[in-house]
């Protein structure tokens, strides 16, 4: 299941102004992207902690779900 935290208003997503101390566990897969530019700021990773920031955070149970989310939403990898 994908959980989405974003600062953008959307009808079909759970919305909060900023991800504020959003907790992830070691088992969670998550990523961060800029909803305006569609550029991925943090590529899918497993990392526990508490995340705060202005960008869109997507959390999933599996990397495959995040990969599909990237495809569905036409997100862009930063080619650095």
């Amino acid at each position: 299941m994908i959980r989405i935290y974003t600062n953008q208003v959307s009808d079909n997503q759970e919305v909060i102004p900023f991800p504020s101390e959003v907790e992830t566990t070691e088992k969670d897969w998550w990523m961060i992207y800029d909803a305006d530019t569609k550029v991925i700021a943090i590529e899918p990773l497993q990392c526990s902690g508490y995340t705060s920031g202005p960008l869109t955070m997507v959390i999933s149970d599996t990397k495959e779900e995040l990969d599909q989310y990237i495809i569905d939403n036409k997100l862009l990898f930063n080619l650095d």
């Binding site: 943090i42 990392c47 526990s48 202005p54």
Partner: protein, 581 residues
Amino acid sequence: MVFVVKKDGLPTLIKSNTIFKIFVDFWSNTLGNFWNLAQDPYGKTITNFNVKYISGSGQVDVNWGEGINESVTSGTNINHTFGITKSGISIFSSSGANITDISCGASSPKLGGAISLSAFSSLTGFVCTGNGITAFSGIESCPNLINLELGVNSLTKFPSFNHTPLLNDLKLENNLLSGSIPSLDNLTNLKNLRFQENKNITGNLPSLSLLPNLESFYAIGCNLRGPIPNLSQNTLLKDFRIDSQTTSPKINGTIPSLSGNTQLAFFLCQNNQLSGSIPSLSGNTLLRNFSCHTNQLTGSIPSLSGLSNLQIFQCQTNQLTGFIPILSGLIGLQDFRCHTNQLTGSIPSFSGLSNLQVFTCQTNKLTGFIPILSGSTGLRTFTCQTNQLGGSIPILSRLRDLQEFQCNANQLTGFIPSLTGLSNLQIFQCHTNQITGSIPSLTGLSNLQIFQCQINRLTGFIPSLSGLIRLQDLRCQTNQLTGSIPSLNGLSALQLFRCQENKLTGFGGGIISRTLGDFQAQNNSLTASVVNNILAAFVVANRTTGTRILNLGGSGNAAPTSQGIIDKALLTGRGWTVTTN
């Protein structure tokens, strides 16, 4: 309309095409207003204006169209800056000297206007390069013309070549020519044919079969299509250059046999839709540059043995299979690129390649080892990433000119060799291998911009980064590194630093550059005070624009405390995305 007659009886100014025609006819071969300037030339300069003529006693004058006649000595360069505004340039002779050559040099700013050679029937050479000329006529009156150079102008139409059978050199590069290349069949004496950088030239490449004396053909930067013509009759051909500028249509078909072109030194056919195989080059012993990259070529790379003059061979971005040929003995080889194909086998020996500067073979299916590179002391670029290479990275310490070394995404083992003394090194990537040992000293690599050794089995410390003033990107994540994150003090170009998924425990401190916007150190063993110190350092750096990613979370790292918690909130308020435990 203005018509001025000077005291010597010679008209000097014409502002009407009708008058101009009468004017030329009246004075026959003794006078030629050959250049009608399009605009006021005031302040413009033409350099190296040169007229050659045959005359026992005659004098040739140039009239710059402003009441000034300037006597010219045959074959001597003169310069002129236009003062009084007039509209044309004339050349005339008081004794009927035969003008054989006119060379207009280059003008700055460009003079523009139209050229007519109709008054110069004895002309054998006309050079008017770099002047912005928009029209050219009268060539049919110059049956003796041997050399015609009108490059770097603004011509839109091809002149007719039906009455100039003696042409040796025809150079029309960098114009605005459009349409198809006219028939060249009448130009049986042609040696050098240059149309390059005329993006509106369309149609098929012309037949060259009736040009037995052709030595060079340049059509790069045009919009040509169709097959490469048969070159078997062009036995004197030395230099052949074509490409395609648009996505479609492009030059297609196959590369013709070059077996009869024994004088060939340059053959460039890159960026087309050529298919088939690369022909045998065994007879082209004078070949210096062969470039067929970015096509759809299949088959294998032909033998290059015996091509002792070869300096550049580029066949990258095709669909080539088979092996990279033996390169030993190609003592002049400077640049060999075969990357992005489907090549198998191993990288050949570099033995004897003492002049090699660039070698790229990445994105193939190569196996075996990276060869010894030490003999190629002038090597600047070596890229072999994304293959299936094994073994270790060879010794690099003698390659003092090395700027770029990439061997990532292979199956390499062993150590990263010493990089000491490689002061020109800009890019070093060995990530995604199975490399062990420690990261070597980076001291003295003042030009290093990118260093990526992530996803290996590296142990030991991250070396000092002091003095790496151009370092932009350092990645060493997913290894088994211990010790501290080194001081980032003075790294004024650093944008990205990733060391996550190691066993790092400390932080060397120092002032972090405001350029650093991506710092990932999650999944290490950072203590609370270290996490606090890193957060504090980023607060001091005060970056408020661009990428702002800071990850200190993950298993193993401690959570921030007291001031660290406040600093995290401060950074978040400045647009940072911060993760901590």
